[in-house]
């Protein structure tokens, strides 16, 4: 049946303009409605409602308008403010690491290499594993006394740090695990981007005497730009919104040194401060939008200019 249908149009090309009108109505607007209703009720309404409820003291049943008090509290209490700054540290650190490591792994895994298929699978697999499972596993591996990592370090005579118990280190340890879990997807995107670069460019450069370093900086890096855009945006969106890995590993601790906005929202929700929790949500919304939208516009403009 498909072949029959597929053969028809070539004969009708000449009369096409006349048929435009009936064809247009074959794509009915009501196809938007099912998705639109879900989106409106469960996403758009809560998002707009959050703008109002963030200005209230709220018990779900009644909301008392208190102006900007929630935001004032959010930015004056050190433990809430810490979550705010940590969000940036975590987001930028994980995003930058994924770009660098993903690009290097991408180049490495597109080169002529033994066991390439195995290496690609093994780098990618953690992406598919439950974040909570990964979090708990690494919490055990990073145990300061019995953990496998520190026991292995002890074998070579190094006293490993308290990865998750040292207040100045906890956030970075979690970021490390986040990169471990997420670098596979960055690698994958870079592999797709590198595979799309015509091989002739490299050959021409080689003829002109460019060494591997030059070929990497002058050809690969500029030409994988779309992949870089994607990796940066995806990992920033994910990193700034991070919650489950942090919650599984430290619950924001020790103290509140590894809190991010995502975990502050949950803590305030648990404590029953729904207005404050929603204010955290609005702050997160502003942070993500204010960072991701300009970056995406900037990247897209550069792409058009080229």
């Amino acid at each position: 049946m498909t072949t029959l249908v597929a053969n028809r149009p070539s004969a009708d090309d000449a009369v096409e303009p006349r048929k435009r009108r009936p064809i247009k109505s074959s794509y009915p607007t009501w196809f938007y409605i099912p998705a639109g209703v879900f989106y409106l009720v469960l996403f758009a309404v809560p998002t707009f409602a959050s703008l109002y409820f963030s200005l209230t003291r709220w018990t779900l049943f009644e909301a008392e308008f208190i102006g900007l008090d929630n935001f004032v509290q959010f930015f004056s209490e050190p433990m809430l403010l810490r979550g705010f700054t940590n969000t940036f540290i975590f987001g930028f650190l994980t995003s930058a690491s994924k770009v660098v490591l993903g690009l290097l792994l991408g180049v490495f895994l597109t080169s002529q290499l033994a066991a390439r298929g195995y290496l690609r699978s093994v780098v990618f697999f953690p992406v598919l594993v439950s974040t909570i499972g990964v979090g708990i596993t690494f919490k055990m591996l990073m145990d300061p006394f019995d953990g496998v990592i520190n026991e292995a370090l002890a074998l070579v005579g190094i006293t490993g740090p308290g990865w998750l118990t040292d207040p100045s280190l906890a956030l970075f340890s979690i970021a490390l695990v986040d990169v471990w879990k997420g670098v596979g997807i960055a690698t994958l995107i870079y592999i797709a981007g590198i595979a799309a670069i015509p091989q002739e460019y490299y050959e021409a450069a080689r003829v002109d005497g460019a060494n591997a370093w030059h070929r990497f900086w002058r050809i690969t890096v500029p030409l994988v730009r779309p992949a870089t855009t994607t990796v940066v945006l995806l990992s920033l969106i994910g990193g700034l919104r991070a919650f489950d890995l942090i919650w599984a590993m430290t619950r924001g601790g020790p103290g509140f040194t590894s809190d991010v906005i995502g975990s502050v929202i949950y803590k305030q929700y648990q404590a029953g401060f729904f207005g404050l929790s929603t204010a955290g949500n609005v702050v997160l919304f502003v942070v993500v939008t204010a960072i991701v939208v300009p970056i995406s516009i900037w990247f897209n403009r550069r792409e058009v200019e080229r």
Binding site: Y27, G262, S277
Partner: protein, 277 residues
């Protein structure tokens, strides 16, 4: 020539060694701990278990708290299947009309789709909406939430793929007398099969692994999901690491199976969808 081949194998071998240390040891740790007795597991080391207790631990973790994990697996399966089905049908309809028809609404729809991707969902207001319509702490509520949060990603994939299907097919079907519904469900949707499979696999893994959603919108022990069960298990049984890791091991199996069978679709979905985003 031969030295280059040798070099290639050496580099490959070195990379395999590094990958074992970095990526396989954590999984080996999960598996070994899941096979140990409680006292051995509490040492948290990489040794082989003196007795392989995989089956015993499996039975025990299943029976914990009145077969909680079994119910969790049933719930997570239902949640995944229904929400992904909803997502696919709704998103395909939107992506199709969005690509086929140019109207002045398109820019608005595109912005809304991107907003769905970027804007973090407002948690407590969503609970408030769910409570107002009587769906808070219910499976249908959770299903609708997962379907809604996944829409944007699916729409982008579908829109990109619909553009590769020639319009002439639509026109031919219309001339043959197909209405819009028949045109979509009998002509276009079957042609979308490759991307439908991609969307199903990627989103199934996402929904199955989602922790934050059930944590907020499906609390309580009436309708446990696997991720929530694992999390609660961790806070309750501080001494039985073997059972905890058996639990982790069990919920790692479904994504692993997905990966083995749908490797190509997962890879194409994650890269193509991402590149369009």
């Amino acid at each position: 020539m031969r030295t280059r081949a040798l070099q290639r194998n050496l580099v490959g071998a070195a990379a395999v060694l590094v990958s074992i240390v970095v990526f396989l040891i954590p999984f080996a740790f999960i598996f070994l701990t899941a096979a140990k007795s409680a006292s051995e597991a509490s040492l948290l080391d990489m040794s082989l278990p003196s007795q392989w207790l995989l089956w015993e631990n499996f039975v025990q973790v299943m029976q914990t708290r009145d077969y909680m994990l079994v119910r969790a697996f049933v719930n997570s399966t239902v949640l995944t299947v229904v929400s992904v089905t909803l997502m696919v049908v709704m998103a395909a309809m939107v992506g199709y009309v969005l690509q086929r028809r140019s109207s002045r609404w398109n820019p608005l729809v595109n912005v809304l789709v991107l907003a769905g991707l970027i804007v973090p969902p407002a948690v407590v207001p969503t609970i408030w909406v769910l409570q107002t319509i009587g769906l808070f702490k219910t499976m249908p509520g959770m299903i609708f939430i997962e379907a809604t949060f996944g829409l944007s990603f699916c729409i982008l994939l579908f829109r990109a793929f619909v553009s590769t299907i020639p319009r002439e097919l639509d026109e031919a079907a219309i001339i043959d007398g197909a209405g819009p519904v028949r045109l979509f469900f009998q002509v276009v949707l079957p042609l979308l099969r490759p991307v439908v499979i991609t969307v199903i696999v990627v989103q199934a893994v996402n929904v199955f692994n989602d922790f934050t959603g059930p944590l907020y919108f499906l609390p309580g022990s009436d309708n446990p999901t696997v991720q929530l069960t694992l999390y609660n298990f961790q806070s309750q049984t501080m001494s039985q690491w073997n059972l905890l890791f058996m639990n982790i091991f069990l919920i790692t199996i479904p994504p692993l199976v997905m990966y083995i069978f749908f490797n190509r679709q997962i890879v194409s979905g994650m890269t193509s969808g991402a590149v369009k985003g």
